[in-house]
Symmetry: C2
Subunit: 341 residues, 2 copies
């Protein structure tokens, strides 16, 4: 009997949040593997805010996923069959910009086996050592350029990117204030991740809390969210501040035009540097970032959490956890059983 | 008989545009000069959009002018009396951040005599070789970093800063498109200043005109204006574009909060660098900028215009020319007779 694949197909462009029927899980037979190809079975699918951007027909940094095409995404997979010399069954690989599929077929030279690091769980390659970790590392270090003693604010602080940003900033000797959406997240930020302060934007006056926790103003704003929270932070930026612009999750589900920050003029007055970036621009420098992050991880300096949902069939519905702020740490779909470590 | 000074005093903070009664012209006797001091008589007072910012009690890059204090401003002045060894009566100096006064008294070491350049009129030191010229030079070259073949858009293009930005960008080998507020200005931009195209935002659809004149998108947006025009430009930025944020004149008279650009998310998607700057931050590098601009000026590569209003008494009312877009080139108040050149 032919083994069957399962793939989420984009059927229509979501209006606002993703709803049932926007995507369809389709089964199809697996084709025989050709020379030079590798077949992988997805273990962990990464769910990220940017997935929502890809579903919209907007002028983003990548073309939108076509209607009728497999949903774009990636994660960690295990090689099940290889007709490529450099990879063997059982190797763990990152499928990069693959698809929301149980099985995938790749030209072998596009994949690299993940190294085995002592004491580092496989999920670290979905977090600190994955795309979100690289986003945090390069956005903060290359654009934010934090200096010891400066104050760094990060929004969506308990998310996969924000939690790394804050901890890297602490390693640099900064005062770090995180903004997150629950008391549980805020507790994790200050008690586990070592943030100096955390603000629950759902229950606190963000402006007043920033005044309290950032008595010397804000030197770096690592922006993940946009909207009113960003405006409060921009109002408190210091002269010559930096603002890595990583994400604007508050706007991705918008169905009407969203105004930019009302404090936009403060970017002029404060001589702020704002720089949009997408982690794939840093791909050639990933080895540098991986090495640095792996070192800190093995020294115990980076705490990370995962929010794991089981079953590929739950992928579309689970995306809402990001937009409702339900996840603490990296949101992952466990598509198939990970290997025993 | 004691000679009298005349000074504009800020009496109250303008609401919206500057109105009669917001400032008062006051006469006062001149004090005798002390050792080390220099007295100057203002020849040309510079009127700039930023004057309006200084009148408001907002958190800007300089403290606001106090109520009851002389209005801040500067320009070119002639030394009338000196008790400082480095300067003599008849020397021409730039009074920098002085005041809207006929006479001023300065510690001698704070002033430098302007060089005499062959064929260069004194007004050039209010334009290409003054603060507006330095604003254009450093903002474009240091932040915009234009490369030959790229497309540069500049708003308020016929103003003192914008007209220099476009001409410097042409010298760098760029395609240059200016946005200005009259057919007369647009004609000057393309026929005299050498811009590739000019858009009259009062009579044209700016978005459609940008599409027509920037077929390869926009690599550098030198922003002087803000508001809807900025939004149209941001929508057409290329990947890795740069946006020197020099001014937001459309918002300075605002009496209600002004939303930031609706296309703010495009700064993320296009990985744009936005950098606010104030020309005084570049003060240590003025000699470099002056030398470069003076060279181009003497080679005939920089055309410039002045819009001269006579009489210190007309300073406050003339400021509105900037906000109504009436001036072509540098707006100057001729406070007293310039020396015969």
């Amino acid at each position: 009997m032919t083994e069957m694949n399962k793939t989420w197909i984009l059927r229509k462009r979501p209006e606002g949040e993703v709803k049932e029927g926007d995507l369809e899980l389709v089964e199809s037979p697996l084709e025989p593997l050709k020379d030079g190809e590798v077949r992988t079975r997805l273990i962990y699918l990464s769910l990220d805010p940017t997935n929502r951007i890809w579903m919209s027909d907007v002028d983003a940094y990548l073309p939108p996923v076509g209607i009728g095409d497999p949903m774009r995404g990636g994660g960690l997979a295990v090689v099940t069959e290889s007709k490529f010399d450099g990879l063997s069954a059982g190797d763990i690989v990152n499928t990069g910009l693959g698809s929301w599929s149980l099985y995938s077929t790749h030209p072998g030279q596009t994949l690299t086996a993940m190294p085995k690091l002592p004491g580092v769980p496989l999920t670290a390659f979905m977090g600190p050592l994955g795309a979100t970790g690289m986003t945090a590392y390069f956005g903060l270090m290359d654009i934010g350029k934090p200096k010891a003693g400066e104050t760094v604010v990060v929004s969506a602080a308990a998310g996969a990117v924000g939690s790394m940003v804050g901890q890297i900033a602490k390693i640099q000797g900064c005062r770090v204030v995180g903004i997150a959406g629950s008391d549980e997240k805020c507790k994790w930020l200050t008690e586990t991740a070592g943030f100096d302060a955390a603000i629950n934007y759902k229950s606190e006056d963000v402006g007043a809390a920033l005044d309290k926790h950032c008595p010397d103003g804000i030197d770096v704003n690592f922006e993940n969210v946009g909207g009113k929270i960003m405006d409060q932070v921009i109002a408190r930026l210091n002269d010559f501040s930096r603002m890595p612009l990583c994400g604007l999750i508050s706007t991705y589900n918008a169905t009407e035009p969203v105004p930019g920050p009302y404090n936009f003029s403060n970017l002029l007055m404060r001589r702020t540097l704002v720089k949009g970036f997408i982690v794939i621009d840093y791909f050639p420098r990933f080895p540098e970032g991986m090495q640095q992050m792996a070192g800190w991880l093995m020294e115990g300096k980076l705490k990370f959490e995962t929010d794991i949902v089981k079953g590929l069939e739950n992928a579309p519905a689970s995306l809402s956890r990001l937009f409702e702020g339900k996840n603490l740490g990296k949101l992952i779909v466990e598509v198939s059983e990970p290997p025993a470590s």
